[in-house]
Amino acid sequence: MRLNLFHHLFIATALMLTMPLLASADSDRQHVVKELSYGVALYNFFQEKYFSSITDLMVAQKRQTNEKQQFDSELLLGGLYLSYDLHAQAGQVLDQLLQADIPAEIRDRAWFNLAKLRYQRGFYPEAEQALIQVKDSLPDYRQAERLNLLANIYLNQQQYDKAVATLKEFDGDSSWEAYAQFNLGVALVKLGKLEEGIEQLTRVGKMKPDSSEQLALRDKANLALGYAYLKHRQPEAASEAFNRVRLNGALSNQALLGVGWAWNMQSQYNMALLPWIELKSRSTFDPAVQESYLAIPYNFEKIAKPNLALIYYTGATKSYEAQLRKLENISKAIDGGELLQALKPANLGDETALSLYRSKLPKSITAPYLYSLMATHEFQNVLKNYQDLLYLDYVLTRWQRNLPAYSLMLQERRRAYQQKLPEVTRDTRLKKLQQLELQRNALADKVTRIENNQDVLALAAEDELEQLAQLEAVKRNLQRAGKKQDIAELRQRYEILYGLLYWQIADDYVPREWQLKKGIKELDTALAEAQAANISLKNAWNQAPVSFEGYAGRINKQNSRIKTLEVKVQAALRQQEKRIQTIARQALDQQRRRIESYLVRARFAQARLYDSMARAGEQ
């Protein structure tokens, strides 16, 4: 019985390495929004609705509605492309942004994002170069992330001294620092630099966690530490590290197995049985539990209890046989599409739910068997691509459903237009506008004439006109009577009355003239509005057929684009489904081979024990 240390060390470290590299719109502070469309894109981005957020920015770019925040928008777009795994597009946007004359803060963030992009693509020296370009305007809360990235760049280039030096730059407690320390520790242990690696891992293994994420990281560090100690035959230190792993955490099974091996290594076989018997009561699809089925009887043999060992070997054989049958059924379920069905989010319309859905184990009977596989970076990438394709398919289907309604609406508008066109062209009110304009011009001429001639009486009010008419009649009577009698006194009274009336009108001439001009101005405004409305109406009616054709053309064009893309997305979906099933089957095969190997060992041990017992009986 040999402990497969490398396997356990791999499991312990497989889940670590990267914290998510998010887009660079700093998620934990309030953003200044000067353009609504930028704010809307942020709203979707903060909910991890990357597809919608990218669309918002693309629409804003087309409509030119982000001009006041053009650089912010481009920086966000670059980051979004990065989060949405569109690396080429992210690089293009960021490179273009860096060529512009941009503020230092945006420049630093753009270089930072470019460094992340290059790191993700495995261009480590280039990523380091980009990070060097980041000056001092990066906010404090980004510094730890920058150092973590730098440490990872050095790790991937096996420049461990530089990675250690980078860790010293961390200031205060930070999750990023813990991640960097953990990664460095694992790398050093793998390289055989045990002492240095252990130093790093111990810091993480003993940290006081303040989040579930840090708790999980601490467990991982202690598990890796424990197996590293075991590998270098330091069982007491290994036990200490394993005991720091939470008993109810995801890594507790491996820790219990490790504790048992640590006791075993010290020849404390009874002590080793305690964690393993606890382990045996747990789920049989866990590799650590499966191993405990063999480890227990192995220990009983060590303490010279062959009968008990035989009982446990027999139990192990039965359990392994049952597990192999289960694996067969699981394999059939994968072939039948059960896993694929479980990987499809129930509600694709809720873009926010997609990332949440990925962070949970799928509700599939295969999940307990594929747990380790599902936690790997490779599977997560494949799953993300699969769900992204499902979402693309959903988007295309939704548009395909909507477009006929738009065509129908367009047809309806065209029909209404054709029905109303004769009514509108016959409408006499439209022709009246010309008459009204002529009347207005006549009025304006009259006002000009009055003004030029200072024709005070032309501005007389109605009652004044009446009085003027009466005075005119009096004047005529006076002229007629003047030939027959002396009417000097009456003539004088007439002159006084006429003078009074004239003075009254003349005195009010300026306000009256102003009022008249104001009236004409108002008339001009009303006429101009009516004219504009008339022109707009005419244009609308004239342009309507062209506009209908334009929309119809756009709808048809997009419809054919949808159909072409739908075929491509469906083909990619089928290929991706095949890929998931292949990976899952490979993982099951691996498990099957492991259990078969355990089964062979259990049967062999059974035979060996029967044999030796028989021999002992004969003697």
Binding site: S27, D28, R29, Q30, H31, V32, V33, L36, G39, V40, L42, Y43, N44, F45, F46, Q47, F51, I54, T55, M58, V59, K62, R63, Y84, D85, L86, H87, A88, Q89, T352, N385, D388, L389, L392, V395, L396, W399, N402, Y406, M409, L410, Y551, R554, I555, Q558, R561, I562, L565, K568, V569, A572, Q575, Q576, R579
Partner: protein
């Protein structure tokens, strides 16, 4: 002993021979996976571009510029008011109701702006009323309305409803900004 050695060499040779096509098959599989990954990235970009064009078409068709009217919602720190829901009325007709999730509230607090409503309005005066429901200071139930009269022109019009903490009064404020 010599025979055993020969058998070992033979087995090693056989293993190597077997390993070559196996390695070749693995390379082929990896390269076809890379090709599929690239194809998926390409499809994502194409669907994004199509989605943008369809979005523009839909907006042009359903909400022409001369009648387009949009209402947005934003908030600052939001310490004095925990938003639950918003109801929007235009000319006494309910046009939007929205119940907020925790994620949406967090997105608003970080500076995100929600497009609450888009529709069509004829030129002229209109009354817009928004009711905000949630929890105010001291976690008490809070319902507040804000009314504004807007003059719709033939240009697209954007109105922003802003929830602001008035720290002096220790009360939330609900402002309306009409974007020019």
């Amino acid at each position: 002993m010599k025979v055993l050695k020969n058998i070992t060499y033979f087995l090693m040779g056989a293993c190597l021979l077997l390993a070559i096509p196996l390695a070749h098959a693995a390379d082929k599989a990896a390269s076809s996976q890379r090709a599929l990954d690239n194809q998926i990235q390409d499809l994502k970009q194409q669907v994004l571009e199509l989605n943008r064009d369809l979005f523009l078409l839909e907006e042009d068709l359903l909400f022409p510029a001369n009648t387009q009217f949009s209402v947005f919602l934003s908030m600052d720190a939001g310490q004095l008011f925990e938003l639950d829901s918003v109801q929007l009325k235009i000319d006494d007709k309910i046009v939007a109701n929205h119940l907020y999730t925790e994620r949406e509230i967090a997105a608003l607090r970080r500076g995100g702006v929600q497009r609450l409503y888009i529709g069509n309005l004829a030129s002229g005066k209109h009354e817009l009323v928004a009711f905000f429901t949630g929890q105010g200071p001291s976690k008490r139930d809070y319902r507040r309305g804000t009314t504004v009269t807007i003059e719709k022109t033939t240009d697209p019009q954007y109105v922003e409803l802003k929830i602001i903490d008035n720290t002096t009064k220790e009360q939330p404020e609900f402002n309306v900004k009409v974007w020019e």
